[in-house]
Symmetry: C2
Amino acid sequence: MKSNLYKKKAQIFKALSNPVRLEIIDFLADGEKCVCEIVEKLNYEQPHISKSLIKLKETGLIKDRKEGLNVYYSLKICCMGEFFNCLNKVLEID
Amino acid sequence: MKSNLYKKKAQIFKALSNPVRLEIIDFLADGEKCVCEIVEKLNYEQPHISKSLIKLKETGLIKDRKEGLNVYYSLKICCMGEFFNCLNKVLEID
DNA sequence: TTATAATATTCCATTTTTGGAATATTGTCA
DNA sequence: TGACAATATTCCAAAAATGGAATATTATAA
């Protein structure tokens, strides 16, 4: 069923349709980070960051790795860079 | 202000976060289409299609051209093809 | 075993999105 | 003008997203 694929893609875009989550992805593009680093960098409440990370993970955009008390998150999809570059160009035009 | 850019990008992703709108974009990748063609192809109510098109246009993802009674829509951003291909690969893995 | 640091979860009110149904607008042609 | 075809708009109830606040969980180390 092709419509099912559209639903799955829509889910991915929905996960990306939030400024905080985009900022997280942008930061993760720099490499794996633990939650505390993300909280420190982005200046949002820890629960907010945590919920954002979980949503991104559920959608399959990032993955996590536990090490002691820390949880490290990293990007799972590598094709976003080009797309983001394109979006930047588009947004510059306006 | 960088956070403003994240908001704008989030808006774009929000516009893409709906199966019907994705299906429209997929169809438009084939070239310019008038509303009636889209309605016929996608099998949704005309007002629904119309609202979807307007949302995509507001976000700057598509543009329109009027000719008599018809309104023709076409893609305005060309970098979606690669990104969609990547998403397809990601979705196949699951 | 207790305290603490790191992270996750729950609860909740507010806002936003969704999609159906009815209706309005606009352009064309007889 | 009047009828009709193509498209847009409005209204609305249900569903989903948002983000703050409080709280829970988990692992570690003393």
